[in-house]
Symmetry: none
Subunit: 210 residues, 2 copies
Amino acid sequence: MRILVADDHGIVRSGIKLLLERQSGLDVVAEACDGVEAVEQALSTRPDLCILDVGMPRMTGLQAAREIRSHLKDVHVLMLSMHDDEHYLFEALKAGASGYVLKRDADLDLVGAVTAVGRGEAFLTNAAEREIIRRWMEDGDGGPAVSLTPREEEVVKLIAEAYTNAQIAQILHLAEKTVESHRANVLRKLGMRDRVELVRYAIRRGLVEA
Amino acid sequence: MRILVADDHGIVRSGIKLLLERQSGLDVVAEACDGVEAVEQALSTRPDLCILDVGMPRMTGLQAAREIRSHLKDVHVLMLSMHDDEHYLFEALKAGASGYVLKRDADLDLVGAVTAVGRGEAFLTNAAEREIIRRWMEDGDGGPAVSLTPREEEVVKLIAEAYTNAQIAQILHLAEKTVESHRANVLRKLGMRDRVELVRYAIRRGLVEA
DNA sequence: CCTCATATGGGGTCTTCGCCCGATATCGAC
DNA sequence: GTCGATATCGGGCGAAGACCCCATATGAGG
């Protein structure tokens, strides 16, 4: 199988390359250190499989996947992610990826994922994610990212700005209980446990700055 | 040379390992996927060199470097960073690292860095950084803002990772009361009021990621 | 010696969180 | 039009966690 590897970290490219080339039948025929290069390389070398990092400069792996798949229908894409975040999982599948592997687990999963995707199967990092996928497919609404209501976002933002529930209630002219309700709903939606996790979520989402 | 590799991404560990072991005389004798494990492994296996990622869960590479260097004076530390950020460079050197390599360049630089550090030389990713270093050494003004003790930093990091005081106490083998003390001291030093503010501080300082 | 980092307590209050419950209002689907 | 889902709003209660002010003790280092 002829493979393209794209990641902005040289060490990761080398690691993947060495890992794959220990298997016979797997050949890394092109490397790229960002999405733009990945697309160029893919069009010129016509690999069977593209392994793309989600987070690359200039053009992300997601954008690159869309671009590549739109030109080369028979190319498989395996997405690599640093994040445990399933957000990118959905994005990756929408972008046409057949597989999704976390870098954390990549040393164990990668060869399996590559051969699975090579056989035309889908590969996801673990069973839990398959489950998420299944539910997502059933819904079909295409809402991968849990969406918060405007009110909920307001509350999250204020929480991340270190206001107490009481202060938030004052600011938004609500009962403290209502604020607690919104917070509880958000925690449930996002599968989080406390305000600390919410802060990091809010920063990630750009609701507040660090 | 006996080497310890610590990084939370399996693929990076594998890459480094494969890369180094192509050279004769370089042996990866231990791996760790976070700072706590790195310290434990370092103390038990006594490697000649520790290659530490700056951004790891539970305990960062910086904290681990301090910890390791305080116990094992003759161990060299080579710091790996994802960020182009020179902020961590200074922190790394203060923590006792002899070398600093960006993951982006790691496939090219790593072996050179390892042998350089093994010879007792310092290795920095590029000349520009040497220059920065020189100026930094000249300035020597030391602490610009409030500085936290190593212990306090550990606690802050864990708080920002959404651990409860009780969990932090377990992880660091302390009484919950002690954790509370450290947290309270940090809050006083920084003029903050609760953990939510600490999270943003920790993210700003690069102790954790959002 | 005195300071500072570290570690540990006792006492207490306040906030947060989980889980139960209810009420409107809107909106899209049947 | 009716039904169900969802958003918004409100409440009580209890447990757990976070936070505050106090004090103590050891050990390293200037």
